[in-house]
Structures are given as structure tokens and as C-alpha cells.
């Protein structure tokens, strides 16, 4: 790791000092960097390597081939899976950001004395198994679920409605439900950092609550929104539990296909190639979001 040198050539004493900094750097950063190298860089590199190999009868041929990528390009199945994942991730991110943001603003500005208790209410759902929280939505959205029972009882419908479950809607609803706290928490943290003076200054300058919200609060909380949005997008894009449990016939997502490849299909190279594509898509998304944040910040 090269220690940064000044623009001018450092004199010898400067170098002595930087040496001791290098020592500290190695001591403090070394273990984590080594860990990241072994369990992060090398594994991701393995995914790239496997993706250009082929499989034959449960054995992996270490022969360079583009066949996996060609298969992905040719078969509309894979494009559909990726498109579905992108669609779900996009909808879920938008919905979670809107709801999570509203929730964070409510807790930060309008909740009064119970603020800290409400903040912790955001965390408690995270303590419940993700699987069960996803699963329980089946019980709510099903033909005999709470929602249909309620609708029937009120008389809005006269027979249970099917469109609530086993489609894109139920997948997005459940994932949104899961990720709201992941947006609300960083947004709340960002809102909390906005100095009270700024809000007062805005109001002093004649800005109503609406104007203050739009011109001061939203721009200053953007970093929190971006953090939460990136997190939500990436995690919902790669989820396989929710589409498996609530997806129904139409919601084929790329993660499920990858699991197939690593399981019964036993085509690790193919699965790796799909994984590489997911990595590329996610990296592009993150880069775009960061760019957007930088331009606005």
C-alpha cells in the first residue's frame, strides 16, 4: 500500500514520520484488508473464473468458454428473470423510500415526546425472522386471509379476491414491508443531523412548513435516502425467499434461477455467469446513485 506522498518530494524527516504511519496503517487496516482479500476479493474473483468455465457430468471443465454468457443472451428466459428482478427492485425501492421517508419524518419532527420509543419501534420488526415475516403475508393476503375476511365482512366484495397473492403485487408488498425500516433508519439519522437553526432560519425567512420541507429538509436528508435506497435496491434485487413464498406463476427472479444452477442443475459455471451479471447490474446502479448524490450534494 503506497503511502501518499506530497506533490513536492518529501524531505527525509517527512519520510520517517510517514513510515511510522505506515506501521499503524498495516496494524489497523491490515487484518481487515487481509480478510477482505481472502473472503471477499478472491471469492468474487472465483465467481468470474467459474463463469467462463463449463460443466460436464458433475465435473467442472476449466476451459475458457463464453458459452454461459451466450446462453444467457440467447434464451429470453434469463432476460425475463433479470427484467423481473429489476422491476421488483425498482418498485420496492420507490415504495420503501416513500413510506420509509414519511415514517422517518413523522418520528423526527411530528411525534413529540414518544420520539425515542417510536424510533425503537422501527427496530423491533427486524428481530422477527425475515422468513416468517414474509410467510405471514400469505396468511394476510390469501383467499381466507385477514384482508379478504375483512373485505367480505364489510361487504366490499361478495367472494374472496385472488389478485392479492401470488403475483408481482404480493412480492413487492412484502419486500416493501421488509425494507421500510432499512430506509427509515438512515433517513431518520440524516434528519436528526439537520441543525434546528436551518429550519428556524427557513421559517424566519418566510418559508412555510411545506417550503421548508421541500427546500431544506428533503435536500439535506438526501444522503440518508440514497443509503437506504441502495440497500433496498440491492437486497430486493437479490432476494429469493419472497418470490419463492409469494411469487406465484409469473414472478421468476434471477436469484431463484441462480439457486437452480447451483442446486439440481449442477451448473455452477452458468450460475456464476448469472451472478456476474447481477454484480455488474448492481455495481452500475450503485455508481449511478452515488453520482446522483454527488451532483446534488
Amino acid at each position: 500500500m503506497a503511502v501518499q506522498e506530497g506533490l513536492t518530494a518529501p524531505s527525509s524527516p517527512e519520510r520517517t514520520r510517514l513510515w511510522s504511519q505506515t506501521g499503524i496503517l498495516v496494524l489497523f487496516l491490515g487484518p481487515a484488508a487481509a480478510y477482505a482479500l481472502i473472503f471477499l476479493i478472491l471469492p468474487y474473483a472465483s465467481v468470474f473464473r467459474f463463469s467462463v468455465w463449463a460443466v460436464e457430468n458433475y465435473g467442472i471443465h476449466q476451459e475458457l468458454t463464453a458459452a454461459n454468457y451466450l446462453r444467457i443472451a440467447e434464451n429470453p428466459l434469463y432476460r425475463a428473470a433479470i427484467r423481473n428482478s429489476l422491476l421488483v427492485a425498482g418498485i420496492v425501492t420507490t415504495a420503501s423510500v416513500v413510506i420509509g421517508y414519511a415514517l422517518a419524518v413523522y418520528i423526527a419532527f411530528f411525534s413529540g415526546r414518544g420520539q425515542s420509543a417510536l424510533f425503537f419501534l422501527l427496530v423491533i420488526p427486524l428481530w422477527t425472522s425475515f422468513l416468517l415475516r414474509a410467510f405471514i403475508w400469505r396468511m394476510i393476503l390469501g383467499r381466507q386471509g385477514i384482508l379478504n375476511s375483512a373485505l367480505l365482512w364489510v361487504g366490499v366484495v361478495d367472494k374472496p379476491i385472488d389478485v392479492l397473492l401470488f403475483n408481482m403485487f404480493s412480492v413487492c408488498l412484502t419486500l416493501t414491508y421488509v425494507f421500510i425500516p432499512f430506509v427509515a433508519l438512515p433517513v431518520y439519522a440524516a434528519l436528526e443531523k439537520i441543525p434546528k437553526d436551518l429550519i428556524e432560519a427557513s421559517m424566519d425567512l418566510g418559508g412555510s412548513a411545506w417550503v421548508t420541507f421541500r427546500r431544506i429538509i428533503i435536500p439535506l436528508s438526501l444522503p440518508g435516502v440514497v443509503t437506504g435506497a441502495i440497500f433496498t435496491f440491492c437486497l430486493s434485487f437479490g432476494d429469493f425467499v419472497t418470490p419463492t413464498l409469494l411469487g406465484g406463476p409469473d414472478v421468476l427472479m434471477v436469484s431463484s434461477v441462480i439457486i437452480n444452477q447451483f442446486g439440481a442443475s449442477f451448473d455452477w459455471p452458468m450460475g456464476s455467469a448469472l451472478a456476474v451479471i447481477v454484480i455488474v447490474i448492481v455495481a452500475t446502479g450503485v455508481a449511478l446513485a452515488t453520482q446522483l448524490e454527488r451532483r446534488n450534494g
Partner: protein, 348 residues
């Protein structure tokens, strides 16, 4: 064993007080089993443990995918593994498992002759697995909603739109192909596959969901989400037990599968593993399995060791009669393509 001990020691050290005393120190050996939940219940495992002074450590998985992934990732963590008949050939060819020494498994001789002689557990004259559980894949229907009819076509009937579930598994392709009259259902030609796919795509608007776990399928029936699904007899049995009005019928010819115990290659507990296989094949164990779980035994002698009503409920008279005509889930040479077709249906 040594590496494992080392890891446990390290783990204990790393985890400190939390771990202290929580990892039991077994005096005897440990037999490590990779299996389905329900295949290693206390009712027939405790007596084995007591008799041999060993402890059975069980790892459950949720799908066939996981079995193969785990074996491929390093089978060294297990001594015994349960593999379904459609993947048996693969496991043998890939070298995940080793041949059995039948002289150590006297009970092997007692299982259904047809089952004993299935091709996919043998290679080069050696037997690699002991078929331990039978199942058929029937169509389960809600008896109230569909009191009549015994045809697979119920799953393609527009009257049942939105109330049909299909198994998210390659076996569904086999089921449909079988219904369409295709003979070599596990080795279809491209044209045949395309025909099956077309049939499934046509069916898709009628489908409520594809189920992947048995429990899911049961919940679908219990919650009245669906009234018909291709399933497994275990599902029907449990649903009946829970008072859900269901009935089932078999395809023509009936399709079924076999789950078999294999010894994982390089297992340090070969002998013990063989004893366990012999134990689970015994009429006593098989009877108790049928009683407790409703899985079907492969040892007909188990009839004497289960409640008479279990035998009837499981329809084992029919099975015994039809077993020779039954089509078992067999190796699928183009498994990856089958899975792709299944996914193509979902993506269509």
C-alpha cells in the same frame, strides 16, 4: 474427525463463555446424516443411538437443489445422505457416494423386488444405495370442490382457473408428459419438451402458484387457496389428518419416486452407516416410520409393525399391486434443460 475436533475447539475458544458447555462432548461416535425433515425422527433413531452408543447429527435441507449443492461443495461433512431416485445416478456418477457392502445390510433382501432392482442405484454390478422410502406423485384435489373425476386433466380444466397449483420441480414435466402419453418422460426429445412446455404455458393462466415445499402445498389446500395440485401422497395424508377434505388419484401409469440412503464417499464411519441403513430398512423401523410420518415403507414386511389403519390410509394395497407398473422418477440426462424449460414456463 480431527479437523472437526479442531474446528470445534477453535469455535469454543472464539465464542468464549457463550459456547462453554453448549457443544456436547460425545463420548462415542457421531453419525452425520443429511436428510429430509421427518426421515430421522426419535421414534426409530433413539433406539439405534442407544444400541450403538452413538449420536446422530441430522442436517435437514429444503430441496433437492440443496442436497446436490452440499454434496458438490464437499461431502466430507456427512456420513449418510438421502437422495431421491431422479438424482441417484448423478450422485453415483459424480462420485459423491460409494458402493454398499450388502453383506452388512441383511434387510436389503426384504424390500419390494421391483424397488430392489431399480437401475439407478446400481453401477458396474455394484449397489450404491438402499431404497428406504417410497412415494407416489398423485394429483391431490379438494374432495368438496371436486368430488368426481380421476383424470390428470383436472389440472388443465378452465373451470378450476386460479385454483390450481403445480409443483415447482422437474417432476412436473414428467407428470405432464406422462399424461400426454409420452413414454420416455425423463429423456424427452426437444420436440416433446417443446410440446410439454406449450401445454404448461397454456395452463399458466389457470395456475395460482407453483409450490416448492411440501408444507407450502399443504397450506395452499388448508387455506383453500387451491383445489387441485400435482403433489405427493404425503401431502394428502397429512391434510386428511388435519381434517382438510382432500382426496387423491394416481396418474396412468402411476408415477412415483424412491428416496434412498447412500454412504457418502470417504465417510470415516462406513460400518456404522451400514448398520444404520440396515436398521432403517428393518420391518420395525419402517412400520414405525409409516405410523409416525406417513411416508411409505419399502419393506413390505413392515405391515406387521404398523397400525393396520396406516397401511390402509397409505393405500399400500394399491401400491403393492401397482408397483410393477409404476414409473419411477429416474435420472434425467438433460436435467439442466428440464429446469430451464420449467423456468421458461414461468418467464413466458
Amino acid at each position: 474427525m480431527q479437523r472437526r475436533t479442531f474446528i470445534q475447539a477453535t469455535a469454543t475458544f472464539t465464542f468464549g463463555a457463550v459456547a462453554a458447555g453448549s457443544l456436547p462432548a460425545f463420548g462415542g461416535e457421531e453419525l452425520r446424516l443429511l436428510t429430509w425433515e421427518g426421515y430421522a425422527e426419535n421414534a426409530w433413531v433413539k433406539n439405534f443411538e442407544a444400541e450403538h452408543g452413538v449420536r446422530l447429527s441430522k442436517t435437514y435441507v429444503g430441496s433437492n437443489d440443496e442436497y446436490m449443492a452440499k454434496l458438490a461443495a464437499g461431502g466430507g461433512d456427512y456420513d449418510l445422505v438421502v437422495i431421491v431416485s431422479s438424482l441417484a445416478r448423478r450422485a453415483i456418477d459424480a462420485g459423491f457416494v460409494e458402493p454398499l457392502d450388502l453383506s452388512q445390510i441383511p434387510n436389503f433382501e426384504n424390500i419390494f423386488p421391483r424397488v430392489k432392482n431399480v437401475p439407478f442405484i446400481a453401477k458396474d454390478g455394484q449397489i450404491y444405495a438402499a431404497p428406504t422410502f417410497l412415494f407416489v406423485s398423485p394429483v391431490t384435489v379438494n374432495a368438496k370442490a371436486l368430488p368426481e373425476g380421476n383424470d390428470f386433466g383436472v389440472l388443465f380444466d378452465r373451470k378450476n382457473a386460479g385454483r390450481i397449483a403445480m409443483w415447482d420441480d422437474v417432476s412436473t414435466l414428467g407428470d405432464v408428459a406422462n399424461w400426454m402419453g409420452i413414454d420416455d418422460i425423463w429423456n424427452m426429445t426437444d420436440d416433446q419438451l417443446a410440446a410439454v412446455r406449450a401445454k404448461l404455458v397454456e395452463q399458466k393462466p389457470l395456475v395460482r402458484t407453483y409450490w416448492s415445499q411440501q408444507g407450502e402445498a399443504m397450506d395452499l389446500f388448508a387455506n383453500n387457496e387451491v383445489i387441485a395440485a400435482n403433489s405427493s401422497s404425503y401431502i394428502t395424508k397429512i391434510l386428511k389428518e388435519r381434517g382438510v377434505p382432500v382426496r387423491e388419484f394416481l396418474g396412468k401409469p402411476p408415477l412415483g419416486g424412491i428416496d434412498s440412503h447412500f454412504v457418502v464417499k470417504g465417510s470415516p464411519n462406513r460400518e456404522l452407516a451400514h448398520r444404520f441403513i440396515n436398521h432403517i430398512l428393518s420391518a420395525e423401523s419402517q412400520g414405525s416410520i409409516a405410523d409416525v410420518t406417513g411416508y411409505m415403507p419399502t419393506n413390505p414386511a413392515s405391515k406387521a409393525h404398523m397400525r393396520p389403519e396406516t397401511w390402509t390410509e397409505l393405500g399400500l394395497d394399491d401400491i403393492s399391486r401397482e408397483i410393477d407398473s409404476m414409473k419411477f422418477w429416474d435420472d434425467i440426462p438433460r436435467r439442466a434443460r428440464y429446469i430451464e424449460v420449467l423456468n421458461e414456463v414461468k418467464a413466458a
